[in-house]
């Protein structure tokens, strides 16, 4: 019988449930997050037009670089200012 030392971080992951999906976007504040990849803005401009037609209020955000996680302050800002967020990953 072999006993070895656990190579992992020994953490028990905390499971966080996603927030409840809104039934309608009308009247909600929607964050649009551009990760700063080429053409993300083109995609989000179109999304903004469509959501405004639906009666959503739009707030725009952009990561300083696509190569790093969004800064903590920005994540907090989005969470406190928006009901939902749409992130543009695309090139």
């Amino acid at each position: 019988m072999t006993t070895v030392l656990d190579p992992t971080n020994e953490a028990t992951p905390t499971r966080i449930e996603p927030s409840t999906r809104p039934e309608s976007l009308a009247g909600l504040t929607i964050g649009l997050l551009d990760i700063s990849k080429p053409r993300g803005d083109a995609f989000l401009d179109r999304v903004e037009t469509r959501l405004t037609e639906l009666g959503s209020t739009i707030r725009r955000y952009a990561k300083p670089t696509f190569a790093k996680p969004a800064p903590v302050d920005m994540r907090h800002e989005i969470a406190s200012e928006c009901d939902a967020v749409i992130e543009a990953l695309a090139d």
């Binding site: 072999t2 006993t3 030392l5 190579p7």
Partner: protein, 482 residues
């Protein structure tokens, strides 16, 4: 399971082994002491029939020897009625033994002095196993016990610890031995490992280094490499999350490279050298097992590259007329250091005809202008590894490193009109607004140079990077400490 310490018997206690000429020499003296007023207990480490002059007590499991810190045989101890040690002597010294026992006749026919031998419990081949068995473990890592019928290699695969290759089981004895490769404390925090941002201790790093196949003497290099990738500037999270097939590679400079047997020569980026193959692998296993960076989870690489298993190599400093990569990055000559760079796998640059440094530099520049795509400028760093035969062109022309860099960078200026969107019917490229500019292929400080490879071969190698500079990944150099 730790075996608790047994007290010494009252009186005189000797520790001996047959495989020690001095122990055999003192056998008659032990016989004389046994006839004295003080009780004598003799523990034998290897042969129950030795010494024949008394009934020896079995210590072949070395429990008493280990618990009472016997380093030399013969050792003679005096203990009181509580089993507390009062005094001890080691080896054979006739006057000393006579005084210690208060018996002037002891060993009169023996030579005056003989040094003892190493005690079996401190034998390097057994010490780690004994420390693990008897010691109150200094290791705090959780233990995982495999079932009797479980194949240990398969068990480690089943638990998701492997990068795809078999792992060495990280038993306590092996991990203790690994930790001996450094003088630092096992509970020292080496860094915070992305992407889960988990603190990694030296001990946890050692567990993964064992699994990777490292020898203890590689551990200081692994730790420095780990510090480098945990540096925020290196942006290990980004390296994992990107869809580009990049990973960390490690260049080792300084005398430690030769001391631990790293390869800087033939097949330097290939298989066959344990240190080169396992140092980078250990770091990648730590990213996987401690940091939680696994392909398909945070690691989103479209293709990855084979070097992501782990690639480390040594620069051939002895064969180079130039200062090393580490020295150019501010490390003092002769100081051991690791540089972590974020790159793809190596690409070959063939030039078998150039005989002048100008011609070869032209060819290298032409190759490097295509790094990660000819339309990309100021986007990525690159590491150029010149082979000895290519280096010979610069050596004979007396170009130093600064001259080579200046000449190469001059040839790496790109006319933006050649890489503008739509030029030559290619949609990829710089936006129209960048027309009419002269742009460097690499950012200032983004071109890295090293020297390695076998003695024959008119090829150099280039490792192309990923998003460079503060917006992406910055190469990080760390000194290797004990």
């Amino acid at each position: 399971m730790a075996v608790s310490k047994q007290p010494l018997p009252c009186g005189l206690i000797a520790f001996v082994k047959r495989d020690c000429p001095t122990c055999e020499l003192v056998e008659p003296a032990l016989g004389q002491i046994a006839t004295g007023d003080e009780p004598l207990t003799v523990y034998t480490q290897d042969d129950l029939s030795f010494p024949s002059v008394v009934v020896a007590v079995d210590d072949t499991d070395l429990s008493m020897s280990w618990h009472h810190d016997i380093e030399t045989v013969p050792t003679l101890i005096r203990a009181d009625a509580d089993g507390t040690e009062l005094e001890r002597i080691v080896g054979w010294n006739r006057d000393q033994w006579q005084a210690f026992t208060g018996m002037p006749e002891v060993g009169m026919t023996l030579p005056e002095h003989r040094p003892g031998c190493g005690s079996l419990n401190v034998d390097p081949t057994r010490a780690d196993e004994l420390n693990a068995r008897f010691g109150t473990s200094k290791l705090s890592t959780r233990r995982v016990q495999f079932a009797e019928l479980e194949d240990e290699i398969e068990a480690m695969y089943d638990r998701g610890w492997s990068d795809g290759l078999p792992l060495v089981p990280p038993t306590e004895a092996r991990v203790l031995r690994m930790i001996e490769g450094t003088t630092r404390s096992p509970d020292e925090v080496i860094g915070v490992v992305p992407p889960d941002l988990v603190e990694v201790t030296l001990e946890k790093a050692a567990v993964n280094a064992v699994m990777a196949g490292c020898k203890p003497e590689y551990l200081p290099v692994v730790l420095a490499a780990l510090e480098a990738i945990c540096d925020e500037a290196f942006n290990m999270h980004g390296l994992l999350a990107t869809t580009m097939g990049v990973g960390p590679i490690f260049v080792v400079n300084g005398p430690i490279a030769q001391r631990i047997g790293m390869n800087s020569g033939i097949n330097v980026f290939g298989q066959g050298n344990r240190a080169n193959s396992t140092i980078g692998r250990a770091v990648q296993l730590i990213v996987r097992n401690v940091g939680g960076g696994r392909p398909g989870d945070v690691d989103r690489a479209c293709h990855g590259n084979p070097a992501k298993v782990g690639l480390a190599f040594a620069e051939d400093e002895a064969g180079s007329p130039w200062i090393s990569l580490a020295e150019e990055r501010g490390i003092a000559p002769g100081v051991n250091a690791v540089t972590a760079l974020c790159t793809e796998g190596p690409h070959i640059i063939v030039d078998q005809l150039s005989r002048t440094p100008e011609s070869l530099t032209n060819l290298i520049a032409e190759s490097m202008r295509t790094a990660i795509g000819p339309r990309m400028v100021l986007g990525v760093d690159a590491l150029l590894v010149l082979s000895p035969e290519h280096m010979a062109r610069y050596r004979s022309a007396r170009w130093d490193r600064a001259r080579f860099r200046a000449e190469l960078e001059q040839r790496l200026i790109v006319n933006s009109d050649d890489i503008i969107r739509g030029h030559n019917g290619i949609d990829e490229g710089l936006p129209e607004g960048f027309a009419g500019l002269e742009l460097p292929k690499f950012r200032p400080g983004g071109l890295h140079i090293a020297h390695a490879g076998g003695p024959a071969g008119l090829f150099s190698m280039v490792f192309n990077g990923w998003v460079s500079g503060p917006k992406g990944s910055v190469p990080v150099t760390k000194e290797i400490t004990g």
